[in-house]
């Protein structure tokens, strides 16, 4: 697959993941399983943008690490907040 076809494929994947991910919002009862799927889809989509559109694979290590920390940190926080929401609320009680 040449680089142009890879870009086309990345775009199709992003659109499909976005539309199917949106379907999760209306179709399924909320729960931890849904949260996991939503976080995974979020992580996959941002990974596609980083790899194919931003071409971070050839970027300097610091740039790559910063972007990956941000891109994977958010889905991780989604899962952690779902698992430990009450603990986070207790820890941050003084802020609110």
């Amino acid at each position: 697959m040449n680089d142009i076809r890879k870009l086309d494929f990345a775009w199709v994947m992003l659109v499909l993941l976005s539309v199917s991910g949106a379907g999760l919002g209306g179709a399924i009862e909320p729960g931890f399983g849904v949260t996991l799927v939503v976080a995974a889809v979020m992580g996959i989509k941002v990974r596609i943008v980083c790899a194919y559109f931003m071409e971070l694979g050839t970027a300097s290590r610091r740039i790559r690490q910063l972007m990956y920390a941000f891109c994977y940190g958010m889905p991780l926080l989604v899962i952690l907040t779902s698992l430990f929401g009450p603990s986070l609320a207790r820890l941050t009680g003084a802020l609110v």
Binding site: D3, V15, G25, A39, S60
Partner: protein
Amino acid sequence: MNLAATLPLRPATLGRIPGNKAIWVGIYCEVTEFALMFLVYFIARAHHPDSFTAGPSQLSLAAGTAYTVLLVTSGFCVARGLAAMRVANRQACLRWLLAAFVFGAGYPMIKFFEVRWNLAHGLDGDAGVFFVTYYYLTFNHLVHVFWGLLGLLWVMVRTGAGSYTAAEHDGLEAFACYWHTTDIIWLMIFPLFYVLR
């Protein structure tokens, strides 16, 4: 012969800085700003789980999905424009950038109608902590999209004027990095406010 199929469209150099250093300072600032706002989102969500469970069902999922498709399509067009510039096809680059602008401009247009729809249904800043967080984050993102659209107009003018070549197009690549970062941030905002309950 199809140049796009034969020439390398990606730089082979490892460890390079895509675009230029200045844009990465800006991107670092943008990422830090949104990371802090997302932190506020998670803390608010931990304190008000009921509000954040009920909130997404009151927003228009169709509008959220439309924004996502428009922004990733706009980002795709910018990536194709950059690929066209790398094989010295300036006209194709300009066409892709114009398409990117059209798709990108669709975002604030739909946002205008969505906000009107929200306000007509009483979903304003007084509608609860979910909506305060929602407006704060999405309007901040909207501001970044506006900057991106202005940047897109600028690189279109520069491309049209012949300022970029196959060998030297750092400004175009720098803009592309900014625009893709704005995409990435939306790809996080969308599930947090429209999907996750």
